[in-house]
Symmetry: C2
Subunit: 138 residues, 2 copies
DNA sequence: CGCACCTGGTATCCATTGGATACCCAAAGG
DNA sequence: CCTTTGGGTATCCAATGGATACCAGGTGCG
């Protein structure tokens, strides 16, 4: 398969111990690895506002490359979290939307966003303090 | 600085538009990029159970390399999410623990874990269906 | 007609990241 | 001695991500 594929795992495993997120073969952990991802998170947040076309999405998410966007969308579609529909307009336009399953994930993610927004000053302060303690002795 | 440093961003920016997670310079997004990370998530979950030493942590999290573990711990410490304490035992032992700030993040992350554990069958089914539709035409 | 432009991608190449391995220190134990 | 132990760092190589170029194929424009 091509350059940076997402399909290396094939499909999720069948057997696991519930709660054992730390064994590499635990499907929960595989799933966590997939969704604990920069672009997936951002894409789902934007899609939460409503269906959107590929290029609009690309311009909305600052810094995402076309390659990562199409790869990540493909993987999210495979996971049943977003749906892809080709609208046969003049230049074919492709619209992406969150599925009901994806919407349940978004609720869980929202608490992380909220945390980041509210706790940011704390983190910035901690960083400043840390950097002051270790003066980067070069 | 050495090989795979985490400090490339220096420190978080000062000016932003609240809720604008999509501009690359938004501190919330920088923070999100940092915590929406495979190893950070796993480390915080383990640390949530109580303080733990470096090697114990390493053996607990299947598949993490020593390099990534020490790098990620350093970055989490800088962000004020975990604390590192050197106990002057015979071979020096280092204990890591979650800070109160880190504990607030863990609560937010827990909903993601719960989602992964409960919705995994849905995702596995979606993947199977997807793979059946696109027969990988080689 | 011939050319550029639109959308939604792929193919290619190179920089950065992550993983495996080896090594380091100092003290204890055989 | 020589190995083991804990907590790393240094080095090297494979995998990942990003930049850029290209493609299809229909449309408007000179």
């Amino acid at each position: 398969m091509q350059d940076g594929t997402f399909h290396t795992l094939g499909h999720l495993q069948e057997t696991w111990t519930r709660g054992d997120v730390f064994a590499a073969n635990c499907p929960t952990r595989q799933l966590l690895d997939r969704i604990a991802d920069k672009w997936s998170t951002l894409i789902l947040i934007v899609l939460g506002e409503g269906p959107i076309r590929f290029n609009a999405l690309k311009h909305r998410i600052d810094g995402v490359s076309q390659k990562m966007l199409s790869q990540t969308l493909k993987s999210l579609e495979r996971d049943g979290l977003v749906s892809r529909s080709v609208v046969a307009t003049v230049p074919v336009s492709v619209t992406y939307a969150v599925t009901p399953l994806g919407r349940t994930l978004m609720a869980a993610m929202q608490s992380m966003i909220d945390w980041a927004e509210t706790q940011m000053p704390q983190v910035a302060a901690a960083q400043t303090a840390y950097d002051a303690r270790s003066p980067d002795p070069h």
